[in-house]
């Protein structure tokens, strides 16, 4: 394995940011573009990455996002984290960052199963926050990169 080249890394992190921006824009398309072709396309393909159930989605101006609140939290926090964390100094070792990702995967999984098997009720906000924490933990993996 070789040491990562910073120029190459910056390019691929830009691709990652664009991919996340595409997902967020697609998810917000019913609110931003109403019944457009882009909204229709977004609804079709996003069914393969999320259950896309309206009652578990974020509502803005009476319209629902396509992704559920948890998925929207993951992708939007990952996106915001990626574009803002290079300006923030966070001194965590790689091991801690990776363990943080695992912990948040487990927390989200426990929340999903607890809710499905009626152990507790979670809300759109709580699901969004848990998803967002997971998204931030993913962006922490990239904090050392220079742009």
């Amino acid at each position: 394995m070789k040491i990562l080249n910073h120029n190459e890394e910056s390019f691929w992190i830009l691709i990652l940011i664009l991919a996340l921006a595409f997902i967020i824009l697609s998810s917000l398309s019913p609110i931003l573009f109403q019944d457009s072709t882009f909204t229709w396309i977004s609804k079709q393909w996003m069914g393969s990455i999320c259950h896309t159930q309206i009652d578990r989605a974020v509502q803005i101006n009476g319209q629902s996002t396509i992704l559920c609140s948890r998925c929207l939290g993951i992708y939007s926090a990952f996106f915001v984290g990626l574009i803002s964390l290079p300006f923030v100094i966070i001194r965590l070792t790689k091991k801690i960052k990776v363990n943080l990702v695992y912990i948040l995967i487990v927390m989200n999984a426990v929340d999903v199963f607890g809710s499905i098997f009626n152990q507790w009720n979670n809300s759109i906000l709580s699901r969004f926050i848990l998803g967002a924490l997971f998204g931030v933990s993913l962006s922490l993996l990239f904090t050392k990169n220079k742009f």
């Binding site: 040491i3 691929w12 069914g47 990455i49 990239f142 050392k144």
Partner: protein, 189 residues
């Protein structure tokens, strides 16, 4: 002389086919669990958990493929490799799930999709009634839903389904491949 880099195709194909098969099994179990129960009018229930898990499992194809490639002698794990492996893994996972699903629903249990369509339409009818939706709006929405199930059986519908899965799986595996490459690469700390 520079060492030849190993091909990423073998680990990517292997892992994508395995993940694709697992995703299909989970989805099929989810369908059987759904049709074996009674419609409740709830959009989210215990039977919803399996399709949700299958969405998440699909993102693992990129992770496993990049990890398997990183273990090969002479492999250079870069973010670029991670991205390419992720996209290829996504496409192959979508292809595998489409093929196995079609074989299952066409030859092994042809009644499954019809039963599932009936279940979904009845469940949504109850949900819309609970929500207080107007009768004409409900008829239009349920009619569109039934038509979409019919369209999905045609060759164009199957290809469309593959296309949407390929796009979704490619995007999430691009992300998971990049993350795994970042974590797998040395010299970062």
């Amino acid at each position: 002389m520079e060492n030849q880099k190993p091909s990423y195709l073998v680990p990517t194909v292997t892992n994508s086919v395995i993940v694709g098969a697992v995703v299909t099994v989970i989805s099929l179990v989810g369908l059987y669990v759904a049709v074996s129960g009674e419609p409740t009018g709830s959009m989210f229930s215990a039977s919803s958990v399996l399709p949700v898990i299958s969405c998440l499992v699909a993102a693992i194809a990129g992770v496993l493929s990049v990890k398997a490639y990183a273990k090969m002698d002479g492999a250079e794990v870069t973010l670029g490799n991670g991205a390419v492996i992720g996209i290829v893994a996504g496409l192959l996972t979508a292809l595998t799930t489409t093929l196995i699903s079609q074989i299952w629903t066409s030859f092994i249990d042809p009644s499954l999709m019809e039963n599932y369509a009936n279940f979904i339409v009845k469940n949504m009818e109850m949900a819309f009634t609970n929500m207080g939706m107007a009768a004409d709006q409900m008829d239009t929405t349920l009619g569109e839903m039934e038509k979409s199930f019919e369209d999905a059986k045609t060759m164009v519908g199957i290809l469309k389904g593959f296309g949407w899965s390929a796009l979704g799986f490619s995007v999430v595996n691009l992300i998971s491949g990049l993350i795994t490459a970042k974590v797998s690469a040395k010299g970062d700390e």
